[in-house]
């Protein structure tokens, strides 16, 4: 116990006290200190004899052998290991609707959520505190959301919505056409915006000449476009323009986002184009499902000049040939490899064979070595596989994957993919208190999860002080 640390600890506690949060005696309220034998922080290595202080659903601090002020509730478990709550960034556990048509980029998985879903709630018991749920279907089925598996209401469950746009890529004309057409529509939209802008500028210049005239010339436009604002008063109050125009209402959020300082509000894109507009504006990323090496090349070919941000989901069939495109150099490709783009790659924790042989390959390991950020998704999207998840990942460690990569693939990488990497995914100060407590090394077969904490509250496991 270092004096300086103790003082610091006491000071921060005092500050918290000053902030008006009383120290309560029961769990879930007030600060809680948990002492464990080992903490796998993921981002900052392993801490032995770790102490984690949790308050108001956040990790207040974490360190080795930190002294705990009297009055703070302490849970002492020297045999336990703690790791961040795991993230399954690509799942439909607990959801059961089927896909619709192949071009529905406006469909949201969050619309399917229902807080009472038994299976979804259950994954918490297996250590999963963050999920990325995607809509069902082929083609471009829609937008995924980052969620907590439990909540009283849907709103409580949502962490980030949308998290990514799911795109299923196959080596066929339909897939490529879909992508190309969608971006062609974005071009059209940008043209439209440009024209609207030009007109607006022109009209503004005209009005400058007519300064002083009392009557406004709103010059009614068709429903999609918002009414032009020539009146300075209106320019100061952007919300006023949206009243009465239904289409403009839909575009309200966009209009607000797009609003320039001088008050120009661009027309809203139609539903099917919106996600693509946002992708081009780098406000949304895509997650592209690929089944084989050829799919990767066809995806890059379909993208053409587009520079959108995307990550990949690689379906690892038993004889997967995806390793051909892990990097550019090994097979002297003209195009980039998956690792070269440093994308996140969602894969199952499964060993495959070199095609036509019985020689095992550890593709997730190779993928990580090539530079991609591996995120794990269960082998099959059901509760059994969530239960066995750590065991499956252990197989890959046994086959050569490093622990660090494996841990990250279960936690931080998935969080980053979902865009909530600043909130969850590691044991760091300020992040959500999503913690999994185990009675040993997470990757040993005898280890069992003892407790799970979600947003600072124990939601699994019997824990008393």
């Amino acid at each position: 116990m270092l004096r300086s640390q103790s003082i610091l600890f006491g000071a921060s506690t005092a500050l918290l006290a000053l902030a008006g949060e009383p120290l309560a005696a029961s769990f879930g309220n007030g600060p809680l200190a948990i002492r464990v034998g080992r903490a796998e922080t993921v981002t900052k290595g392993v801490i032995e004899n770790a102490v984690i202080l949790v308050e108001d659903g956040k990790i207040v601090t974490i360190g080795e052998d930190l002294p705990v002020e009297r009055g703070v509730q302490v849970i002492d478990r020297p045999q336990w290991t703690v790791m961040p709550g795991m993230v399954s960034s690509y799942t439909r556990i607990g959801l059961d609707s089927e896909g619709g048509d192949d071009m529905s980029p406006d469909v949201k998985a969050s619309d399917e959520l229902w807080p009472k879903s038994r299976d979804m709630r259950k994954v918490v018991d297996y250590g999963f505190t963050t999920l990325g749920v995607y809509p069902a279907g082929n083609g471009i089925p829609g937008l995924a959301a980052a969620i907590r598996p439990r909540g009283e209401t849907v709103a409580e469950m949502i962490l980030k919505d949308p998290a990514y746009l799911k795109i299923v890529m196959r080596s066929d004309s339909a897939s490529k056409k879909r992508i190309r057409d969608a971006f062609a529509k974005v071009d059209e939209y940008e043209e439209k915006v440009k024209k609207a802008r030009e007109k607006w500028d022109k009209d503004k210049d005209k009005d400058k000449d007519k300064k002083g005239k009392k009557d406004e010339k709103p010059a009614e436009k068709p429903a999609e476009k918002p009414a032009e604002k020539t009146d300075e008063k209106k320019m100061a109050d952007p919300d006023a323009q949206d009243v009465g125009s239904e289409a403009a209402q839909e575009g309200k959020t966009d209009a607000k986002d797009e609003k320039k300082a001088d008050g120009f509000v661009p027309p809203a894109p139609d539903d099917k184009s919106r996600s693509f507009v946002e992708m081009r504006a780098k406000k949304l990323r895509a997650l592209v499902t690929l089944a084989g090496a050829a799919d990767w090349l066809h995806w890059l070919d379909a993208l053409g000049k587009e520079t959108i941000g995307f990550d990949v989901r690689l379906v690892l069939n038993q004889d997967s040939d995806i390793y051909f495109v892990f990097d550019k150099k090994t097979y002297d490709l003209d195009a980039d490899g998956i690792g070269d783009r440093k994308v996140h790659a969602v894969v199952e924790p499964v060993l495959t064979f070199t095609p036509h042989t019985r020689r095992l390959r550890n593709l997730p390991m190779e993928l990580a070595q090539a530079g991609a950020k591996v995120c794990f998704t269960p082998r099959t999207d059901n509760l059994d596989n969530y239960k066995e998840f750590l065991g499956h990942v252990s197989e890959l460690i046994g086959a050569g994957m490093t622990r660090d990569v494996a841990l990250r693939a279960l936690t931080q990488n998935g969080a980053d993919l979902l865009g909530v990497g600043d909130r969850v995914g590691s044991l760091e100060k300020g992040k959500d208190a999503n913690l999994v407590f185990l009675d040993g090394d997470p990757f040993q077969p005898a280890t069992r999860i003892q407790a799970v904490m979600l947003d600072g509250r124990f939601v699994f496991g019997e824990v008393d002080s």
Binding site: T354, P355, H356, T357, R358, R359
Partner: protein, 417 residues
């Protein structure tokens, strides 16, 4: 086997001429350079190259073959031709022995390969269904195949007894037959498995069916008795007749060797040996059982190591002796027996060994090497003249002699293949 030496002295020649009458080893017979007597038929064939495929693998270029009354009287370098011989000049052609096929089903009408009522056809004779000089046989001749073992199919554990015959193009049964029964045919993998609810759905069940018959035959041999139904099976167990066994896979192939070669001590020849049977090559070679590879020459899916495995090459690497090849015609057309040699060579076997695999090796393992399989003095004059390497598809067969007579001549008969 022996290696032969050229005999320089007359005395030695005379001595050996006497020995030859009792010896079954053809290579020790001496050449007959006497002139033709009245009533003798003789043709002297001069070739650019003669592949004898004898034990010393002698090749004469140019060479001369003297054929007298259906047998080879002389084969060697160019020399003066005794009087009376008709002379065939083929300075551009290669001569090679007629090829020997141990696994053919083209002796009959074409559709009648299997009779599958009994699990064992103890005394069925393929010869009864033979159609001599049928179109498949004629094409086989044009492809350089001169002797075939025509057998029943593999639908039953013992298919029956096959007939050894020459691929003559205009012959009666008696003129074509070499030996009937020529040997027994057994099938032990996959095909004979019965699904009708009777015994024989499993390999063990099939083995039991076979062993019941084998035990009875052996018992009768011991007692010195016989019954008509089992007479020929008894000959198999007395090693008087060979038995050809259809078997494959690393499960079936060694099991067949265990039963027939090691267990029953018969003159067994294991046919096919495809899929992943080659993985058991070291043990098979140790037992010494002759292997007859074909029609499949490669394996990829069963061996599962990402390699295209040449089956014959693998057996040879393990030390197999007298490996022979087959077509299982019509699965591979009979006239393409040479191609089996070519592709076996392509996938790793030695080419010359593959030439032996379609000539002397099948003759030897079936006990026919005193008559067939190589161009040596005293053997049947089954000679194929081609424009080049016998294994190369580009080599055209120009003429085929069987028992010293021209059975196929491309210029006269047209090019059948």
């Amino acid at each position: 086997m022996h290696t032969s030496r050229t005999i320089p002295t007359f005395a030695a020649t005379a001595f050996l001429a006497c020995v030859a009458a009792f010896s079954s080893c053809a290579s020790s017979r001496s050449a007959d350079l006497s002139e033709l007597a009245p009533g003798d038929e003789g043709v002297a064939i001069r070739c650019g190259r003669v592949l004898t495929v004898d034990e010393d693998d002698r090749i004469h270029g140019p060479g001369l073959i003297l054929v007298k009354n259906g047998r080879i009287a002389y084969v060697g370098p160019e020399r003066d031709i005794p009087a009376g011989y008709a002379v065939a000049e083929h300075p551009d052609l290669w001569a090679a022995p007629g090829m020997v096929e141990l696994h053919a089903h083209v002796q009959g009408s074409g559709g009648d390969i299997n009779d599958m009522v009994y699990p064992v056809n103890a005394d069925l004779r393929a010869s009864a269904g033979m159609v001599p000089s049928n179109p498949a046989i004629r094409r086989a001749c044009a492809g350089g195949v001169t002797t075939l073992f025509g057998i029943p199919g593999s639908g039953t554990s013992i298919g029956g007894f096959g007939v050894i015959f020459k691929a003559k193009t205009k012959a009666t049964y008696d003129e074509a037959v070499v030996r009937d029964p020529g040997g027994m045919k057994v099938a032990q993998s996959y095909n004979p498995e019965r699904r009708a609810g009777d015994l024989g759905a499993t390999r063990a069940g099939l083995a039991w069916i076979l062993e019941q018959y084998n035990e009875e035959a052996r018992a009768m041999n011991r007692e010195g008795t016989s019954t008509p139904m089992l007479e020929n099976l008894q000959k198999v167990h007395a090693r008087e007749l060979p038995v050809l066994i259809h078997s494959a896979g690393s499960d079936g192939y060694p099991a067949a060797a265990r039963m027939w070669h090691v267990g029953n001590g018969t003159r067994a020849v294991l046919s096919h040996g495809c899929f992943d049977a080659h993985l058991t090559a070291p043990w098979l070679v140790k037992t010494g059982v002759p292997l007859n590879v074909g029609p499949r020459e490669i394996d990829f899916a069963s061996t599962r190591d990402g390699r295209i495995t040449g089956i014959a090459a693998r057996y040879l690497e393990a030390g197999a002796k007298d490996l022979s090849l087959c077509t299982d015609s019509p699965v591979v057309p009979q006239e393409e027996l040479f191609l089996q040699g070519a592709v076996a060579a392509r996938y790793g076997a030695d080419s010359y060994t593959m030439l032996r695999a379609v000539t002397i090796a099948p003759a030897r393992v079936f006990g026919l090497e005193d008559r067939l399989g190589s161009l040596e003095v005293g053997k049947d004059a089954d000679i194929v003249l081609r424009t080049g390497d016998p294994l190369d598809p580009r080599s055209r067969v120009e003429r085929v002699y069987i028992d010293g007579r021209v059975e196929y001549d491309r210029r006269q008969d047209g090019q059948w293949f």
